[in-house]
């Protein structure tokens, strides 16, 4: 098994997966505790619309998907803040729209669009150095937001208390949605849009089972994400299984174990 980790593509996959575990572990608890678990899935479908538009225009798909998905994230936040519908409904509307427009874009392109399917299922074993740099850049941006962690967590706990203490809760909603959109686009290339939401939701939900503090939940989510990436890649190499799906299956297994065995505060 050890020789697997000496292969350059496995090393790149491991590094990309661990960066993803860090990012998703950091943002996941906000997503889960704010009741936005559906957002990751919705934004991934939105990203598909962006990828399709990029392919149609003959541009780098991710370069189009990033602003496209960010716009959709801001749109979802705006609609759920301004109208009488709940966040999950706003997500439902936007993701159906983005998916539909993506399908139309793809149909307009006359050539074969197999590339679109690599985004559907991801290809962590075919991570390019550009993908790796993109995820590292996002990690850098996230590190810059560390001073905001306390106020994001405060507003996640009780939005009204935070607002009364002059936390700019509406601005932070947009900022968080924007950053989660970036995570989703980067993760999409790695694990595929069908499994992106898993990375944001399952490690955080698993960590919640054993965590007594929000910081503990974040650290636990990073740990669960990292563990599932390392074990998942190893198992997928050993048994020749699809890597992204193996990672997510392991996350689900860890969640089941935690939900059965831990159940604390």
């Amino acid at each position: 098994m050890l020789e697997a980790w000496s292969l350059p593509f496995m090393q790149r996959a491991l590094l990309a997966g661990l960066v993803m575990a860090l990012l998703a572990g950091y943002y996941g608890p906000f997503v889960v505790q704010r009741g936005l678990s559906f957002l990751g899935s919705g934004l991934a479908h939105a990203a598909f619309g962006g990828v399709a538009l990029g392919l149609l225009l003959g541009l780098e798909p991710l370069a189009v998907a990033v602003p496209f998905t960010a716009l959709v994230a801001l749109g979802i936040t705006w609609v759920s803040g301004r109208t009488r519908i709940r966040g999950d409904t706003a997500v439902g509307i936007f993701f159906a729209f983005s998916m539909a427009i993506g399908i139309v874009f793809l149909s307009l392109k006359r050539e074969y669009t197999a590339e679109a399917f690599t985004y559907l299922f991801g290809s962590i074993l075919a991570v390019s150095s550009a993908d790796l740099w993109a995820s590292l850049a996002l990690l850098g941006v996230t590190a810059l937001t560390l001073p905001l962690w306390g106020r994001w967590a405060y507003a996640t706990f009780d939005r009204e208390l935070a607002a009364a203490d002059r936390v700019p809760v509406a601005f932070d909603d947009y900022l968080l949605a924007f950053l989660v959109a970036l995570v989703v686009v980067v993760a999409m290339k790695l694990v595929g849009l069908l499994l992106v939401a898993a990375f944001l939701v399952i490690p955080a939900a698993t960590a919640r089972q054993g965590a007594r503090t929000f910081l503990g939940m974040v650290l636990g989510a990073v740990f669960v994400g990292a563990l599932s990436v390392v074990l998942g890649l190893a198992l997928s190499y050993r048994f020749d299984l699809p890597s992204g799906a193996t990672v997510v299956l392991l996350q689900t297994l860890l969640f089941t174990l935690a939900a059965t065995l831990l159940r604390r505060g």
């Binding site: 405060y154 009364a164 936390v167 503090t213 929000f214 910081l215």
Partner: protein, 255 residues
């Protein structure tokens, strides 16, 4: 705060949500050190009034001064807010001391510094809840949550404490304790207290001033005046007999 000025002052305060008129031309002035109870039927605008004072809702018309300033320009450290604790998100992983420390930091704590820990422990001690340190708030009873939220408000030594139905969901003994804690804090610091309550009797016995709201200001003044039969009838449409304060009313003349 402007020295000697009122702790709270509203002039023709009007709040509209679309077509709905939540508050209409409320004009009042509360002196510093008062213990104010806000009573009124459901939908009377009590919570809206509190949210205006907290700077969470902007008035549609009129002016508001809290500690001498417009609400959004008041230093939030001067205000201790105790929300209705039934709004607590029990799925959020939090320890008692973290909840209290959030009042100190105005952010959610990752780790508490030694200095923060001392202040937090003193605040929990003050409300008789030191034994809750290290325990998860998700499993707290109403009475325990009440104390932790009070400690959270007190920890920043506020000049103004605002409470939204603080007695809901706690037993009579807990309620008596709460009034004692509030009155002790007030005696020690001279702070102004403002609480929304459905309990006319508590308002009668503990408050120095009562605001009777029903979108408009129906009554304002010392409890024996504001809780007069005329004001209550105007606000609620009846004077209620279940609260056992009809005896008190009999002594009072209509304002």
């Amino acid at each position: 705060m402007t020295d000697g000025g009122p702790a709270l002052e509203t002039r023709d305060l009007t709040v509209r949500f679309g077509d709905h008129l939540a508050l209409e031309r409320v004009t009042l002035s509360v002196p510093p050190g008062a213990f104010v109870a806000i009573v009124g039927p459901n939908g009377a605008g009590k919570s809206t009034f509190l949210k205006v004072l907290l700077g969470l809702v902007r008035p549609s018309e009129g002016t508001v001064r809290v500690l001498g300033r417009p609400p959004e320009r008041v230093d939030p450290r001067l205000i201790g807010y105790v929300p209705q604790f039934k709004t607590l998100d029990r799925t959020f992983p939090a320890l008692a001391e973290e909840l209290v420390a959030s009042g100190l930091r105005r952010a959610w704590p990752g780790r508490l510094s030694a200095a923060e820990r001392r202040l937090v422990e003193a605040a929990l001690e003050r409300v008789g809840a030191r034994q809750l340190i290290g325990r998860s708030v998700s499993r707290f009873s109403g009475g325990e949550l009440q104390r932790v939220y009070l400690a959270r408000a007190f920890v920043r030594r506020p000049r103004l404490v605002m409470l939204d139905e603080p007695a809901t969901g706690i037993d009579v003994l807990g309620e008596a304790d709460m009034y004692r804690l509030l009155e002790d804090y007030q005696k020690e610091t001279g702070a102004t207290l403002l609480m929304i309550t459905h309990d006319w009797e508590a308002a009668y016995h503990h408050a120095t001033h009562v605001i009777v709201l029903n979108r408009r200001l129906v009554g304002f003044g010392p409890p024996e005046r504001a809780l007069s039969e005329r004001c209550l009838r105007e606000a609620f449409g009846h004077v209620g007999h279940a609260h056992g304060i009809s005896l008190s009313f009999r002594r009072n003349h209509d304002a």
